[in-house]
């Protein structure tokens, strides 16, 4: 019987297999950031162990970094201590680190792919749930806890039980207005936030094959919001073209050998998935969330649902609680929800293509009065590219704030936060209570919807904008 993409990558990394024991898997790439690594390094120190494979380990600073005044000392002592600890640990153990101010600094899941470190058929781990992002390259990538971080640092392996596989097949042509973000929000709304539990998802089908690498990363990024451990997409010419020439991509003959191997990773025609979901891409529309988990979403043209319409008691209760927290009433059109803040950024939608998409809509337009818009590139490289293309000018001319790279308002560990009761349209991945600041209310949206929302001051798609562009441009 044939094997799936996930099974092939898994099998290629088994160091040891024994009856009644989890497989011992080799880890090709270990990404570190400041929040989940301190106790792991401490454990190594106490046991007198070195980092086994410095050449497969890399660290960056992202969660706590400010997006303004980055040359000044960080005001919050807890944030500062976490960053200083990472620097100290990396220096002591010899780990490559890209700190605040470095040209390769940025959100860990943006940095790995842009350096060409994330490659098809590799295993990638990080003490961070959105490690699933890297699955867009056909890598098996998943988040781990601090004790596992220590385990990987010490042994470059992890004992793991093999998850099941689920195919999510998207066929049909996506309408022009539909982005990868809309697609993944629709998938999560369909299978639920627990729908992927225990599975590695494989996104496939003609609609997926047409997506760019950035769009594929947006999809795989949010696999975790569907409860899955990981999400993957088979590598193809799009993947190879993205990787070719990047800093850490194979060169010369090695490149040819690698591509040959990467091509073998596709799921075999006779492989069997443990579960399958089919989605007709042509039926999709721009999608936004109205509630407090990523599964509580609906097409932008819909109304806030009535909790009473849910048959399942716990879903009904969750919807009631969500509407109360979000300050919404059942039946209210989603398009009539006004926002105070628009956030474009994060490891979901903070890459260059996302900024281009947002800028193309803001070009020649203005952010509505009373709305603050933050544009936070996912990495310094993304920021530099955007400046080269003049996107920063488009944003500032429209009245948006152009910030320094980092996680920023995705989770509000740095000063970029919502005030209690404030409402955002955000291109990030989690709309949990208080995620963007205590009492803050989050609507997850695509970069295009974020930009249109910023212009109109209420949730909107670019199609709602047709008559407000001033011809000036930049």
């Amino acid at each position: 019987m044939g094997r799936t993409l996930a099974e092939k990558v898994w099998d290629d990394h088994v160091v040891r297999r024994a009856d009644g024991e989890p497989d011992l898997l080799f880890i090709d790439l270990h990404l570190l950031h400041e929040v989940t690594s301190p106790q792991a390094f401490d454990g190594l120190r106490q046991a007198g162990r070195p980092v086994r494979r410095l050449d497969l380990t890399i660290a960056t600073e992202d969660h706590n970094t400010p997006t303004l005044d980055i040359d000044k000392p960080i005001a919050d002592p807890v944030s500062r201590a976490q960053l200083e600890t990472l620097r100290k640990n990396c220096a002591e153990f010899g780990v490559r680190l890209h700190p605040l101010g470095d040209v390769e600094q940025g959100v860990v899941h943006v940095v790995g792919p842009q350096l060409g470190l994330t490659q098809p058929g590799t295993t990638v781990v990080c003490g961070d749930s959105h490690t699933s992002t890297h699955g867009a390259f056909g890598a098996l990538a998943f988040g781990i806890g601090t004790s596992q971080v220590e385990h990987v640092l010490a042994t470059q392996t992890l004992p793991l039980a093999r998850p099941r596989t689920m195919a999510i097949t998207v066929e049909g042509e996506l309408p022009d207005s539909v982005t990868a973000k809309d697609l993944i929000l629709a998938i999560i709304a369909r299978i639920g936030t627990g729908g992927g539990q225990g599975y590695i998802l494989e996104y496939r089908g003609s609609a997926i094959e047409k997506l760019s690498m950035e769009a594929r990363m947006t999809i795989c990024n949010m696999s975790i919001e569907a409860g899955a451990r990981a999400g993957m997409i088979a590598p193809d010419e799009t993947t190879f073209a993205y990787l070719r020439g990047r800093d850490h991509a194979p060169q010369g003959e090695e490149w040819d050998t690698a591509v040959e191997y990467w091509k073998t990773l596709r799921t075999d025609d006779d492989a069997v998935f443990d579960a399958e979901v089919f989605i007709d891409g042509s039926e999709l529309a721009p999608f936004v969330t109205w509630g407090t988990n990523p599964g509580q979403g609906a097409p932008l043209s819909a109304n806030v649902p009535d909790p009473a319409s849910y048959e399942d008691a716990s879903e009904r209760h969750a919807a009631e609680k969500a509407l109360e927290y979000m300050g919404l009433t059942a039946g209210q059109p989603l398009r009539e929800i006004n926002v105070d803040t628009v956030f474009v950024g994060s490891c979901t939608n903070g890459r260059i293509e996302d900024l281009r998409n947002a800028a193309s809509i803001l070009d020649g337009r203005k952010v509505a009065d009373g709305v603050r818009m933050l544009v936070v590139p996912g990495s310094v490289r993304v920021a530099l590219q955007a400046v080269e293309e003049g996107l920063d000018k488009v944003f500032t001319a429209a009245g948006a704030e152009w910030r320094h790279a980092g996680c920023s308002m995705c989770l509000g560990m740095n000063p970029d936060q919502l005030a209690p009761g404030e409402r955002s349209a955000s291109t990030s991945n989690r709309n949990f209570e208080g995620r963007q600041g205590k009492g803050g209310r989050t609507h997850l949206v695509s970069p295009q919807v974020a930009a249109a929302t910023a212009v109109l001051g209420h949730l909107a798609s670019p199609a709602d904008l047709s008559d407000v562009r001033t011809p000036a441009g930049v």
């Binding site: 160091v15 040891r16 011992l24 080799f26 090709d28 790439l29 301190p38 106790q39 401490d42 454990g43 106490q46 046991a47 162990r49 494979r53 410095l54 050449d55 497969l56 380990t57 890399i58 807890v78 201590a81 976490q82 600890t85 490559r96 060409g116 470190l117 994330t118 490659q119 590799t122 004790s147 220590e150 385990h151 010490a154 042994t155 470059q156 392996t157 004992p159 850490h248 991509a249 194979p250 090695e254 490149w255 050998t257 690698a258 191997y261």
Partner: protein
């Protein structure tokens, strides 16, 4: 992880049941970036009372905690175990432990010993009457000894073997070092590297 064979030390009789992990180490301590330095947070709220047993001068340097039933309930924070170890405890005795706490403690080399409440009562009496009385926890014989007390305890064979040999998950994996080396040697050279090594 340090191997545990047998330990003898003075005791702290803690006559409280349902000591949850929030009481062992309050949440505000979780922002720390190390696995050590939690000793001052151990039972922080109770230690504000100078008569709390841990504050008594005669308990200084004690290393065996003898607690009431249902020790370690509540949140799963591993910090609770670290705090007890940082303070100097090598073993905790109780008639019942919360599952996650027990798992965490054995993973970190803190021996949690389950004894019948009647035996716990007697150890309390002995160590309260004579603070210099010692308690021995012998993992090889699976026995707790104190003045006039000999009590057997149970511990599953795998956990005992790991503790006796000081094996944590990482040590266990490193026993397969040869397999890892073999795998590494066969890894294709086109795989990415973060630095030249």
């Amino acid at each position: 992880m340090e191997a545990f064979t047998t330990h003898t030390g003075r005791a702290v009789p803690l006559r409280r049941s349902n000591v949850d992990t929030d009481q062992i180490i309050p949440a505000h301590w979780l922002k720390k970036v190390t696995r050590d330095g939690f000793e001052d947070g151990l039972f922080e709220a109770w230690r504000k009372d100078e008569n709390f047993v841990l504050n008594r001068p005669e308990r200084k340097g004690a290393s065996v905690l003898v607690a009431g039933p249902d020790f370690g309930t509540g949140s799963s924070r591993e910090h609770a175990v670290w705090a007890l170890q940082n303070y100097g405890f090598k073993a905790v005795i109780s008639s019942r432990f919360a599952d996650i706490f027990r798992g965490n403690s054995l993973k970190n080399g803190l021996l949690t010993v389950v004894l019948d409440q009647k035996v716990v009562d007697r150890i309390w009496e002995v160590t309260e009457a004579d603070p210099t009385a010692e308690v021995t926890v012998d993992l090889e014989k699976r026995q707790v000894l104190s003045e006039g007390i000999t009590a057997d305890f149970e511990l599953d064979e795998n956990a005992r073997w790991r503790l006796l040999n000081g094996l944590d998950d990482i040590s266990l994996t490193l026993q397969n070092e040869a397999d890892i080396v073999t795998y590494e040697a066969a890894r294709p050279s086109h795989k990415p590297r973060t630095i030249d090594a």
